[in-house]
């Protein structure tokens, strides 16, 4: 959630004494954008910095994108803290955010704290979704371990009885049966793609619940997973059901197709959103 106007000086994490990475130079040369002039560029005064909410928004977008691109359900990350950031907006209300933030392992037990550091540039095109993300992170999990964990998860999925009719994950009490954790993690991986695509300057998403698992098969050794997830959009508080179909096998790029129900009428059959993608194997630059 972020404010729509600049706030009074907000409390935030202490700014480190070390200078930002060599970002200031990049800020002056953002492709296609006008050089900073006039009120837009001065919207965030350098001494107070950009609204904290905007930095968090950018961090979340970067993380969804990162999780999807990494394609590893055992190495999912969540936001720990934003450390520093800077933003500029141009005349077309396009917003570029540069930031440094720390992450935690999604599956970490309480108390387990291994913070991986990331830096990212996120570009929001006014209120349009699908922000452009360029993100690099220090490795949180050693590569071989990650591959082992992915493979273990893969085997667990293959052994589970299927389909899981009528099962909600987590249950109403927030509990996920340990045997179903792999299902949740794989679902989160696929949902990351959807959440990244739908994130805008003002809208952001969390995965609230896995409300239906249709089926999975393992053809050619891959897991072909069809499920329904309930996304929670924070600023509108809406719950959005999305049907997601992903194909995954350890070490290979993830493919995702999805179909979300949009808007509010109970009789609604219109206004659906669709998308699909294959995770790129290269880092994407914008």
């Amino acid at each position: 959630m972020q404010p729509r106007r600049p706030p009074p000086p907000a409390p935030g994490p202490p700014r480190p004494a070390a200078p930002l990475l060599a970002l200031p130079l990049l800020l002056l040369a953002v492709q296609g954008a006008a050089a900073p002039t006039g009120p837009e560029a001065a919207e965030w005064r350098p001494d107070t910095g950009p609204p904290h909410g905007l930095l968090r928004q950018a961090a979340r977008a970067a993380l969804h994108f990162l999780n999807f691109r990494a394609g590893s359900p055992s190495a999912l990350r969540v936001l720990a803290a934003v450390q520093e950031g800077r933003a500029r907006i141009n005349a077309k209300k396009e917003c570029t955010v540069d930031l440094v933030f720390t992450t935690e392992h999604y599956n970490s037990e309480e108390g387990e704290e291994r913070l991986g550091k990331c830096s990212a540039r996120v570009f929001f095109r006014n209120q349009k979704p699908r922000p452009a993300v360029n993100v690099t992170c220090a490795r949180l999990m050693e590569k071989t371990k990650r591959q082992q964990e992915d493979y273990r998860l893969y085997k667990q999925m293959k052994q589970l009885r299927n389909p899981l009719d009528g099962v909600s994950i987590p249950d109403s009490h927030g509990h996920i049966d340990p045997s179903l954790r792999p299902v949740w993690e794989l679902a989160f991986l696929g949902s990351s793609y959807v959440m990244w695509e739908k994130t805008t300057r003002f809208l952001h998403y969390y995965m609230a619940q896995l409300s239906g698992v249709k089926q999975w098969e393992t053809n050619d050794g891959a897991i072909d997973f069809d499920y329904t997830v309930l996304l929670h959009e924070f600023s509108t508080q809406e719950i959005i059901p999305c049907r997601i179909h992903l194909v995954w096998s350890p070490g290979k790029p993830l493919t995702v197709k999805y179909h979300c129900q949009e808007l509010l009428a109970p009789e609604d059959a219109s206004g659906t959103e669709e998308g699909s993608a294959v995770a790129p194997t290269e880092l994407s630059n914008f």
Partner: protein
């Protein structure tokens, strides 16, 4: 009759630690004396381990027998070969036992006192209302239950009053569960209620507060929504009121207050999660609190508790402009958050609703502040999205404990800064 038999089997199981997986209970109908004799033959075959609940007697009397899994085939073949009719009364004895066991445990689990109430799990509306009655019964001098109204669907709206006497003392209002899916809040409310009675007379701080102020606590502020999250949709947020002209149900009770009602920051669509309702106070759950607070006339702090995001908020939400008491509220929020974080390191941010979370019109604390209740705050409890509304039950008590420290800070501040 069956129940008695089941119970006796259960006892046997408990005592003998037997396992009845796959065992079946057959009801055998014997047509004549010859068939009765045949069944008696079966009885004699010890290796089958048959357990006759109702033994062979005469033709016309049903014979009930529990058949262990390994013997089922043999017994059925035998009966069929001799043309003896039977039906399967119980397909799997163990599952029936398991079900019963669960029911028994659930029955036992209904707390008989607030000391054996399970605070580390989520409860139903009925269980919470039972808890309220127990608490009052155990602490009649300190706690009383008020009904401030009835919900849209006719459920009572209960408020606990904690008071050591006096007449219309200055008081603090706390509500949890106005948004029904935010389950950690109702659960925390239950914990707070118990905490207050435990600490009064033992903890100097809360004792000082209650010796001068009253506390009003509404644990289930939206009981219709709460019941709905149990019965139908765990992620239901709003009330369950019907809007004419729409198939959609419910209004957002935290957009329904008379403070910037209908302005940006709420939706005019009945199908929206932030639908403000057809007019301010149209929701009876809201109106009941408004009437109560106005009639009381001496509320000095108003605290609404939500989840999730880990925030402590003060007014305004409906506009960007700072409240006149912004500086003071910010200081109070700062120290409340420091107290909260001190326990488990849980990080909270604080500020006005508008600048910290989003523009929201018609919210409870904006209304309360505009009524002159200076210390108006809203909490957003754990977590920050990893579990969201479906916060694991194991986090209920830590959440309640840390939040209580923040609440105490506000309560003490209110006590020490009368106005």
């Amino acid at each position: 009759m069956q129940r008695l038999l089941i119970l006796s089997v259960l006892l046997g199981a408990v005592l003998g630690k037997e396992d009845f997986v796959g065992h079946q209970v057959l009801r055998i109908s014997v047509a004549d004396e010859a068939q009765v004799q045949k069944v008696k033959e079966l009885e004699d075959l010890e290796h089958l381990q048959l357990d006759f609940w109702r033994g062979p007697a005469q033709p016309g009397s049903p014979i009930d027998v529990r058949v262990p899994f390994p013997s089922i085939q043999a017994v059925k073949i035998f009966l069929e070969a001799h043309g003896i009719e039977y039906t399967i009364m119980i397909e799997d004895v163990q599952s029936l036992l398991d079900e019963e066991q669960e029911q028994m445990l659930a029955f036992q689990a209904r707390a008989s006192s607030t000391d054996n109430f399970n605070y580390a799990t989520y409860h139903s509306l009925e269980e919470i209302y039972d808890f309220i009655d127990l608490l009052v019964a155990e602490n009649p001098k300190l706690v009383s239950k008020l009904q401030i109204g009835s919900s849209y669907e006719g459920r009572p709206l209960y408020v606990l009053k904690f008071s050591t006497g006096g007449k219309n003392r200055p008081a603090i209002w706390i509500d949890t569960g106005i948004h029904s899916r935010e389950w950690v809040t109702q659960a925390s409310g239950v914990w707070f209620a118990k905490k207050i009675v435990q600490d009064y007379g033992r903890d100097p701080a809360i004792t000082a507060v209650l010796d001068s102020l009253d506390i009003f606590l509404e644990i289930v502020t939206n009981p219709d929504g709460f019941a709905y999250t149990h019965s139908t949709n765990r992620l239901w947020r709003k009330t369950r009121s019907h809007t004419s002209g729409s198939l959609c149900v419910g209004a957002d009770p935290n957009r329904n207050w008379d403070a910037g009602f209908g302005l940006a920051g709420a939706s005019s669509s009945p199908c929206s999660e932030t639908y403000h309702g057809k007019s301010a106070n149209s929701e009876v759950e809201v109106k009941s609190i408004v009437d109560f607070v106005k009639d009381h006339g001496n509320i000095k702090a108003f605290i609404s508790i939500h989840s999730y995001s880990q925030l402590l908020l003060y007014p305004y939400g409906y506009k960007k402009a700072a409240v006149a008491d912004q500086k003071e509220l910010d200081e109070v929020a700062k120290s409340a958050v420091a107290a909260l974080t001190s326990l488990y390191g849980t990080k909270f941010q604080y500020g006005s609703i508008y600048t910290t979370i989003y523009q929201a019109s018609g919210s409870s604390i904006d209304w309360a502040y505009n009524q002159g209740i200076k210390y108006s705050f809203s909490f957003e409890l754990r977590d920050t999205g990893r579990n969201g509304f479906l916060l694991p039950a194991s986090q209920i008590i830590p959440t309640a404990e840390e939040t209580w420290l923040a609440l105490q800070t506000i309560l003490e501040y209110t006590l020490n800064h009368p106005y």
